[in-house]
């Protein structure tokens, strides 16, 4: 399983990388971590004529906290995300999801930008960024724009990126005070693609009632699913078992999982409901016990 031939260019600057992508469009691919790209090239499912290695562009990596947000460079590796103490404190949702991503060796190379740009339907980070209300900064040679996470993932393995664009930065708004989070996933084995995953972000008012809930799922659709509307059932309430069960039922009704060799759609739907209940309860308890 050897890749087809290509021309390799190690970009030394973002401008150079973008210029090359502008020139070659879909014939060129960016090489970041390579943990998804190289396997597809080894299978010859992907045959880019040009490979633009962006690993040498140091500015593209880094975790930059500020008062209202944390900005994460697209080239930041999962491993760096796992090890950053401020990120772990401020965004425990990310820390909770990272151990589910593949295996340690993959996490040493894979990048958050590569993961999001690849937009695998079973991938955790798209659902996480959606739950966190993230924005993505995207650059082409002569333009820049911001895309909300909710607009970025348009289909299975498909994003809103134009052929000449690169995702360069992810902006995460800090969580509101009194917010608890939880990420849960079921896979056949640790590190396998998710059969279903749920991210819950629960904010409480000073009466411990839910004032804001974000709920997203991965692995049960072509894109990450925003099920926050279903979770709105809990607004203004202390979440009871019955109410949370209703949310889970609403989530099950709104998703249309495609099934796979590992799970039937019915199983995915069932598990999505179970994880929704558990994640909501746990996120709530975490605020109560001081996570937020």
């Amino acid at each position: 399983m050897k890749p087809a031939a290509f021309k390799y260019i190690a970009a030394t600057s973002l401008a150079q990388a973008l210029a090359l992508k502008s020139e070659h469009g879909d014939e060129a691919k960016f090489l970041a971590g390579g943990q998804s790209l190289i396997p597809t090239m080894n299978f010859r499912l992907a045959r880019p004529a040009i490979l633009i290695d962006i690993n040498g562009i140091g500015d593209l990596a880094g975790i930059r906290p500020s008062a209202q947000t944390t900005r994460v460079g697209a080239l930041t590796r999962y491993r760096a995300l796992q090890r950053d103490p401020a990120l772990a404190r401020q965004f425990p949702l990310i820390g909770e999801a990272l151990p589910h991503i593949a295996h340690p060796q993959i996490r040493n190379r894979g990048t958050i930008g590569g993961n999001l740009s690849h937009a695998d339907p079973a991938s955790e980070l798209p659902a996480i960024t959606l739950a966190l209300g993230a924005r993505f900064r995207v650059q082409a040679l002569e333009r820049e724009r911001w895309i909300e996470a909710s607009d970025f993932f348009v289909g299975g393995l498909t994003t809103d990126l134009a052929p000449d664009e690169m995702l360069v930065e992810i902006e995460l708004p800090l969580l509101l005070p009194r917010t608890g989070t939880c990420f849960m996933e079921i896979a056949r084995r640790k590190g396998d693609f998710a059969i279903a995953g749920v991210a819950a972000v629960v904010t409480l008012d000073d009466q411990d009632q839910c004032s804001d809930i974000r709920l997203t799922l991965c692995g049960v659709g072509e894109t990450p699913i925003d099920a926050s509307a279903a979770a709105a059932l809990l607004s203004g309430q202390v979440p009871s078992e019955a109410a949370v069960r209703d949310v889970a039922a609403a989530v099950q009704a709104m998703i249309d999982p495609g099934g796979s060799v590992h799970a039937t759609p019915d199983y995915q739907r069932h598990v999505a409901g179970v994880l929704t209940e558990r994640a909501l309860h746990l996120a709530y308890q975490r605020v109560r016990h001081g996570q937020g």
């Binding site: 399983m1 050897k2 890749p3 087809a4 031939a5 299978f43 010859r44």
Partner: protein
């Protein structure tokens, strides 16, 4: 007499080379002037071959040769039947063995059509895209029961059916036993098709030395002597001219004991044609259909019992998925048939199996070689019996174990060693 091994923990001798990365595995063999092979494999499970055109591949820089079945001339022949059928009365066995490169028809996904030889594996894989192949797809035979039904496509047209083998063996008289039974349980059991997946895939390196008239072959085989003997024969050499080296192997598990795989037969011939060493290393994608498979049975089993849970008899009718060819004879299903009896007294047994040709890769022994299928059926039947008769599952087995005074215990039916199945000793 001193003890060197009894009662002493013994460390392995081979570890140093393995722990330091110095052990020779097949892909570690590097020879001057070595060329690399890749095989164009059928993407269709069942198809007629209309056209194979390698001309464009031959024009690619770095490609040295490309061969299809017709290029092999008299060298092309089906492989040997490795295990002939045992002498069982009424047996049906239709021998159809695998070929080095498909001719006229392909019978499973992955069956090789062309072998390309190039300066590197990278270039050889590039050249696969250059080959023009036209296949006329035929319906694929995959379902075991449909395969035996009227109107099914035939894997081997000249057999007239998809029956690779049919065997019935009996002991005592089941029908009479069932008539006496207090309780009969009938179940259908599916045992799924699978593969062994060693971390190291297969590989062959062949080095023909035209001046010395010597053939050296490195092969991920569990049976180097047999492979040597067989290849010497087909290559027209005597055994002393052929050396087959089994290097360190990264997991054999049974499929690497299958002999005269297409690649084993092709690589030495290619080396002789080109007078250069040639290497083929199976990649993981190929492994799923180029190396043999196992399992795949459907049992309709019936057990007749007294109300105390004593087995009066068992009747089992099963289908075994043999894949597209049957070089291993009946080894796997015979093992299932015989091992089903287990350590229990089964006074009456009526077992019938049909080994079915399907458009899937060949099935050969893998870890257990069919015995586990028989064990699965027996043990599940006993579990159901325990549940339905309200007997403890361990107790129901204890009641049926062959007692020590009954050894040597004759189970009568013919086993894969061609002799009636007899347990020589035991105390369960």
């Amino acid at each position: 007499m001193s003890t060197r091994t009894f009662g002493e923990p013994v460390k392995r001798n081979e570890d140093r080379r393995l722990l330091t990365g110095q052990a020779l595995f097949i892909d570690d063999v590097e020879l001057p002037g070595m060329l690399h092979a890749a095989l164009l494999r059928s993407q269709a499970a069942h198809a007629r071959i209309l056209k194979i055109d390698v001309r464009r591949a031959l024009q690619r820089t770095g490609v040295v040769a490309a061969y299809a079945a017709g290029d092999l001339g008299d060298y092309w022949q089906p492989g040997p039947v490795l295990v002939p059928p045992p002498p069982i009365a009424g047996i049906i066995f239709n021998a159809r063995t695998q070929v080095p490169l498909a001719k006229e028809k392909v019978r499973h996904v992955g069956e090789p059509l062309v072998i390309v030889i190039a300066e590197s594996r990278y270039i050889a894989e590039d050249a696969l895209d250059d080959i023009d192949v036209e296949l006329e797809q035929l319906p694929a035979v995959v379902d075991l029961e449909q395969a035996l039904g009227d109107g099914s496509a035939l894997v081997h047209d000249d057999v007239g059916s998809n029956v690779s083998a049919h065997v019935r063996q009996t002991k005592g008289h089941y029908a009479a036993a069932a008539a006496q039974a207090d309780h009969i349980i009938r179940r259908r059991f599916h045992y799924e098709h699978g593969i062994s997946s060693p971390i190291e895939t297969r590989g062959v390196v062949a080095q023909w030395d035209g001046r010395a008239n010597q053939m050296t072959i490195w092969d991920t085989t569990q049976a180097p002597v047999f492979v040597r003997n067989g290849l010497a024969g087909v290559l027209g050499l005597n055994e002393r001219q052929v050396r087959v080296i089994a290097p360190f192997v990264g997991g054999g598990f049974g499929p690497k004991i299958m002999m005269f795989y297409p690649e084993e037969v092709l690589l030495p011939w290619v080396s002789m044609q080109l007078n250069r060493p040639v290497k083929w290393i199976e990649d993981r994608l190929e492994h799923f259909f180029a190396t043999t498979h196992e399992r795949g049975q459907i049992h309709d089993a019936e057990i007749a019992l007294t109300k105390e849970g004593r087995i009066l008899g068992i009747r089992d009718v099963f289908l075994h998925d043999g894949g597209a060819y049957d070089p291993y004879g009946l080894t796997v299903p015979i093992n299932s048939q015989c091992t089903l009896l287990g350590p229990y007294v089964v006074p009456n047994y009526d077992s019938t199996f049909t080994q079915v040709f399907t458009n899937l890769p060949i099935v050969t022994p893998y870890r257990g070689a069919g015995r586990q299928h028989g064990v699965f059926v027996m043990e599940r039947l006993l579990d159901f019996a325990a549940h339905e008769l309200n007997i403890d599952p361990a107790e129901i087995r204890r009641r049926n174990l062959i007692p020590p005074e009954a050894f040597p215990y004759k189970n009568e039916i013919i086993y894969q060693d061609f002799a009636p199945l007899e347990y020589d000793s035991g105390n369960y």
